[in-house]
């Protein structure tokens, strides 16, 4: 199902997300405790955390913009740069590294025409790449995590199939 991409214009919460955010806040005893779940919801909605929302979010939760910025920049799953509809984490920690994660990454970069270390997105906005610390799938090294799906025993030859599968599942 194609999610409607609301444009970030600074008003917070954006009208189409208000109900969802209010429900998240209601789950916690203190408003500020909802910060990470709401950031993840924003990330899901916009594929990044738009800078214009930081002030509004801080006010909405009763904390300061500096505090929000500290949290956003601490967690790698939250990005201030817009990601593709499908975001691939390629594990680069020891087991995967020894089992050829480097070759897998290079194959993906070549196939998609983007660089992981530059945070690039394919021109059609479909794919982006990032290296990750251990994804906990060492017995199937090298591994990839994308759209919440784990792919194990990846080889440079099989990355094409992963991309096709992600495409066929939509975003």
């Amino acid at each position: 199902m194609e999610t409607k991409m609301g444009e970030a214009n600074g008003a917070f919460p954006p009208e189409h997300l208000r109900e969802r955010f209010d429900a998240i806040v209601a789950r916690y005893p203190r408003r500020t405790a909802a910060l990470i779940p709401i950031l993840m919801a924003i990330q899901e909605e916009y594929r990044h955390i738009p800078r214009e929302h930081i002030e509004g979010l801080a006010e909405y939760l009763g904390c300061t913009p500096a505090h929000v910025l500290g949290v956003i920049t601490f967690y790698t799953m939250l990005s201030q740069r817009k990601r593709g509809r499908h975001h691939l984490y390629v594990c680069k920690t020891l087991s995967c590294h020894l089992r050829g994660a480097g070759e897998v990454l290079r194959a993906l970069e070549e196939k998609l025409g983007i660089r992981a270390d530059r945070g690039e997105v394919t021109p059609d906005g479909e794919f982006s790449l990032e290296t990750a610390e251990c994804l906990g799938l060492c017995e199937q090294a090298p591994c990839i995590l994308a759209d919440g799906i784990r792919f194990g025993d990846v080889t440079p030859e099989t990355v094409g199939r992963i991309i096709d599968e992600l495409k066929s599942r939509g975003a």
Binding site: I54, T64, A66, V68, L69, G70, T73, F74
Partner: protein, 534 residues
């Protein structure tokens, strides 16, 4: 209460006391970056590690800032293991540090230098390219941040959140990319922000005002008291080339703890303004002309004396500044009320914004001193408010302004033209002083010694940090000169200590405070102390 030994010395402390504080009580300094007595415990820098001999821990060393003293505990702060632990921490902290000490403002008062000197290595084992981070980031107009020098102790972050009450700083990013930052488009707006410059144990946060002005080791540091409001925060004046270079807060548990406001910290430029009086002025053929100071003092007394002899003291108005010291106000009162018999005495009130922390709405530093010593119009007498009208009505025909002006009040200023005589003592040439017959060249707080009484009754010392310009003299000496002219038979009184002693005898509130005790801490006046006890 637990009893523990630190470096073989026994001490009994309140339950809950941390080892770093217990050591402090014994006069043992344990290195620290992130720990500060005025902030919460972060425990992130690890430099305060000590060896815990008893109770036996899994590792011999742990941080003393977050270690609560327990009965029978045995601590070694300078054992081989403790020194090794600190040396290892130092090596990590300096891995990516730029070591740009020659151009760093913190050099000379940097804790990285201090503890490197104690336990550091002479060579770095790190031969890779250092991590590069933000340089010269403006956190506000007054505060500059250098990310590469920062050791991420978070003292500044905690100060903003816990003391300034505005969480405007945060650690952003992670690991060796982490830095301190303000939010996008924001800057530090707290009136206490600049305290983070003093708090920063390294050269990461520097004052835009003081940056590159002087190496700190060339400063002459004089303990004094801020005069920008009635709080009277204890400060250190750093001076060089007979100029103030910076003011920093000085720890005083009774008045300002470790802090001061940015306004007070930066409010010293007027001390070096071009309108300072370096010479006495005496009116000659309708124009003020430079004169010898002693001659001007004699002339001033002559004017007062002639007027009182001819017309009596009821036509004389005395304005005494609540910016003057207790001693000066006391001598001003001795002269005006005691010698001349003036009943029309007043101060010029100054008010502005105050807050519930340090900044008071009263902008005069010594209002309480002035009121305790008795600078106020007597019943039925003329005060500053009725001054202009009383001049118009011919009731007031002469005036003496000590350290004060009426530049703020056009009506009072205009009224000065109708006076038969006006004597002004001030440190600069105000509009008021331009209308005087005699102008005595006084000095600012930075050029004199004395005491002021803050809003809560704490009496703190001013000390001379720089030389006055030209022939200007401490106001106390000018006032002593007037008194000497009036009472030539008496022994002169113009040394602050002697005047303070006389003040204690004359005004009971000040009895019991010894001047010599006030050099680096405050004493409290009796009335306020009694009021606080109620």
């Amino acid at each position: 209460m637990p009893t523990l030994t630190i470096d073989g010395r026994e001490i009994t402390v309140e339950p809950g006391t941390t080892v770093i504080r217990a050591a402090e009580m014994l006069g043992i300094h344990i290195p620290r970056y992130c720990w500060h007595p005025g902030l919460s415990i972060a425990g992130n820098c690890r430099i305060c590690q000590v060896e815990v001999v008893k109770p036996k821990l899994r590792f011999p060393c742990t941080v003393s800032c977050n270690l609560v003293a327990s009965d029978g505990m045995e601590i070694l702060t300078d054992s081989e293991a403790a020194r090794k632990a600190r040396a290892d921490v130092m090596e990590f902290l300096l891995l990516n540090h730029p070591l740009d000490c020659p151009i760093c403002d913190q050099a000379g008062e940097c804790l990285l230098q201090e503890y490197s000197y104690a336990v550091g290595r002479d060579k770095s084992r790190f031969d890779e390219e250092k991590v590069h981070k933000s340089k010269r980031v403006r956190f506000s107009e007054e505060i500059v941040y250098d990310g590469e020098r920062c050791i991420l102790c978070t003292r500044c972050v905690r100060f903003m959140k816990e003391v300034a009450g505005e969480e405007q700083l945060a650690v952003v990013e992670r690991g060796d990319h982490a830095e301190i930052a303000v939010a996008y488009g924001r800057e530090l707006t707290s009136p206490y922000s600049m305290n983070i410059v003093d708090l920063c144990p390294v050269g990461a946060l520097t004052s835009a005002d003081f940056r590159f002005k002087s190496r700190v080791w060339f400063l002459t540091n004089v303990p004094s008291t801020c005069t920008s409001c009635a709080r009277g925060c204890s400060i250190t004046v750093g001076a060089r080339w007979e100029k103030i270079q910076r003011l920093t807060p000085r720890e005083n548990p009774d008045v300002n703890r470790w802090w001061m406001c940015d306004h007070g910290r930066l409010n010293w430029k007027y001390v070096h303004a071009p309108d300072r009086l370096g010479k006495a002025l005496v009116k000659d053929a309708g124009r003020l002309a430079p004169a010898d100071t002693d001659e001007a003092v004699r002339r001033a007394h002559q004017l007062v004396n002639r007027f009182v002899t001819k017309r009596g003291a009821d036509g004389l108005f005395g304005l005494v500044s609540a910016r003057l010291t207790n001693e000066e106000i006391f001598l001003a009162r001795e002269y005006l009320a005691g010698v001349a018999g003036v009943k029309n005495l007043d101060v010029r009130p100054r008010t502005g914004e105050g807050d519930d922390f340090l900044i008071t709405a009263d902008k005069n530093p010594n209002s309480l001193g002035a009121s305790l010593i008795g600078i106020a119009p007597e019943e039925g007498a003329v005060g500053l408010e009725g001054f202009a009208e009383a001049v118009k009505a011919g009731r007031i025909r002469g005036a003496v302004f000590f350290g004060e002006d009426v530049d703020h009040d056009p009506e009072a200023l205009a009224a000065l033209d109708s006076l038969e005589f006006l004597v002004v003592m001030d440190y600069h040439l105000t509009e008021t002083a331009r209308k005087a017959d005699v102008v005595l060249p006084g000095v600012t707080w930075a050029e004199k010694e004395g005491t002021i009484t803050n809003v809560d009754g704490w009496v703190s010392r001013l000390n001379r940090a720089i030389r006055p310009p030209g022939e200007a003299r401490p106001d106390l000496s000018l006032l002593g000169g007037l008194l000497a002219a009036a009472r030539p038979e008496e022994e002169g009184l113009d040394r602050p200590e002697a005047v303070f002693e006389a003040l204690g005898k004359a005004v009971p509130a000040f009895a019991g405070i010894r001047y010599a005790d006030l050099y680096s801490r405050s004493g409290r006046v009796a009335v306020k102390a009694a009021a606080a006890a109620d």
